[in-house]
Symmetry: C2
Subunit: 369 residues, 2 copies
């Protein structure tokens, strides 16, 4: 059983689950992780397929085995809890700090053989295996917690886990892009209420990443400057959309936000990905992350649904042009009302916002913590 | 009061509402439409603004006046009902067949002066007026109806209204793209349950249309063929995703659909837009449209939420490459379950489907009507 030493005093211990999947324990107290998964062995689902949507040359993943997956179980049947006598979960140990394990119903899986998605697919592209990797990140063993309730120490451990996963997944030859994200709240389709996020490692550039890359590369070519640097300079200079800033990070409502509450959080000195953050940047992330999420829940005094996603530079391209930022998007526009992506947004990609970004930034700043 | 004669024996009569907006009555029995809007005059909201999202060079519309709009009123307060003594609605007449009126809280409005959105905006693009036009299309005066419950005659009248609006909006110099669509069901954010759709006429190419145009133009250049012709040829040849076909139209689940139930309906002889449909194509649309929507509601025996959108060629470009089709997308994946656009879809544009398109086509074909 290999124990690996990471930053911030974090150790990682890997174990194998009953169906061959890996679980990684990220610990800060040198815990020994020897518990064996005692559930009966089962087969892993087959790999899905990716088909090219010929109307826009975008891959769509079809993973038909996922329909039957577990849906909003009650707390006592929570599969992300530590195991206890009589109730064996995805985590064999009886306690944990942070764990990352391979998703039991993954949309994307490592391919059987050498695999590379074609670079410029067109109408004639055949369906290919849905290569990639899907992992689950449990932020804490406490079901009733939430990312914003974690201590700075815990958030630092989660960050170290994200960084470790990004570093390791980047070495897999079939991976093009790594995306840690969190869906929070039943309003955005969460099927497990335990505080957790996911990591999708894609074997292709996701469409929105590909588009951001194209625009950032054009900006670099035209101006000699990195786009996110210019964006952050504008946010600092205009000031009206900044929520909070510390020595190494800034949180702002973007100039053209698409959701009633959308927040971007970025290091002031831009880096390509989570791995490239230095020690000081890592240590000053937790305070701003926690504050921003507390402010978000404070706006209406209710638990806000959100999607929080790390945008990194792709693994093998565009690392000179794209910069790390964390995007938090909430569809709640008022206590009893959600913003839906209806015809204009869903079918045409044209976003209509009811709330001025400056107004939403003001509401977030006005929350008393 | 001008009365205009359209196809299929439809006449159009225009009237002005209390705030200067236009309402158009589409009739088939030569009705005289003289009712005056007796509500107190009110100011129209100001035009919103469009800001360029610098991360992907896409316009985002900010129309902050829309937060207060009416939300799911009960049937007796339905603003899309005909007016009656003591209850004055958006439609001054005491009955109607089909009406199209300017939206009272539009995201997009005609600009004050000569206006053209910049063609290749970048980071330095200033905010501009949210130019365009938003209209509401009432399919019937019957609150308890639905598009699928309309008679063939009624659907033919709605089609004539869509065609007339497309033709007229195409003449406005600030309009680049015209998109009739319908949001159906509270699950997709409908705020009025009366059977109705909308028309958004954009002063810019919506991002998804721009992307489809780019891909279709590349296909035309590389192969000499129109992309949608090739797509329909493949659907006919493979057959497994075809739901129904008549002499002039085909309905199929697309090869790489993004939603549990997604249906595309297109004329077999492709045309650029609704205006270009010939008489026979117009007359054979209603039977296939009605059948497909009946099948959709039949799959689970429940009223399905959907977004139905007409994709047309843009007004001023790409008319050689893009072809008309009607896209119906439903997020219901099982009787009690919806598909949500969570992290992978919302933040990265990478769609994960739980259901094979062939399987969903089979379910739609298996419905007994």
């Amino acid at each position: 059983m290999a124990v690996k030493k990471l930053g911030a005093g974090v150790t990682r211990t890997d174990r194998t689950l009953m169906d061959g999947r890996t679980i990684r324990y990220y610990d800060t107290k040198g815990q020994v992780r020897e518990a064996v998964d005692e559930r009966p062995a089962e087969e892993q689902p087959l790999i899905g397929e990716m088909r090219l949507d010929p109307l826009n040359n975008e891959w769509v993943v079809i993973a038909a085995h996922r329909q039957g997956r577990i849906f909003l179980p009650p707390k006592e049947l929570n599969p992300l809890a530590p195991s206890r006598p009589g109730f064996l979960t995805e985590i064999p140990e009886s306690d944990y700090e942070v764990v990352v394990f391979d998703n039991r119903s993954p949309s994307l899986r490592p391919p059987e053989s050498q695999f590379l998605a074609p670079e410029n697919p067109d109408f004639s592209a055949p369906a290919i295996p849905a290569a990639g990797k899907c992992e689950v990140v449990c932020y804490t063993s406490d079901y009733d917690s939430s990312f914003k309730d974690l201590s700075h120490h815990q958030i630092r451990t989660v960050l170290e886990a994200w960084r470790d996963r990004t570093a390791e997944l980047s070495t897999l030859p079939f991976i093009q892009h790594i995306a840690p994200f969190e869906n929070r709240g039943e309003e955005v389709g969460v099927t497990l209420n335990h505080p957790h996020g996911q990591i999708y490692a894609y074997s292709y550039l996701p469409p929105k990443t590909a588009r951001m890359l194209e625009v950032a590369q054009a900006h670099l070519k035209n101006t000699g400057r990195v786009l996110l640097d210019d964006i952050i300079a504008r946010e600092i200079s205009e000031g009206s959309r900044v929520i909070v800033k510390n020595q190494h990070w800034i949180a702002y409502v973007p100039y053209a936000s698409r959701y009633p509450f959308e927040i971007h959080i970025a290091p002031l000195n831009g880096v390509a990905d989570l791995v490239a953050l230095n020690e000081e940047q890592c240590n000053s992330f937790a305070p701003i992350a926690k504050e921003v999420l507390q402010r978000l829940d404070g706006v209406f005094g209710v638990t806000m649904p959100y999607i929080a996603s790390w945008h990194q530079a792709p693994v093998r391209t565009g690392r000179e042009a794209l910069r790390l930022h964390w995007q938090i998007q909430s569809i709640r526009r008022a206590p009893g009302k959600l913003k839906y992506l209806a015809g204009s947004e869903s079918a045409f990609g044209a976003f209509m916002m009811d709330l001025k970004p400056e107004q939403s930034a003001q509401q977030l700043r006005d929350v008393s913590l």
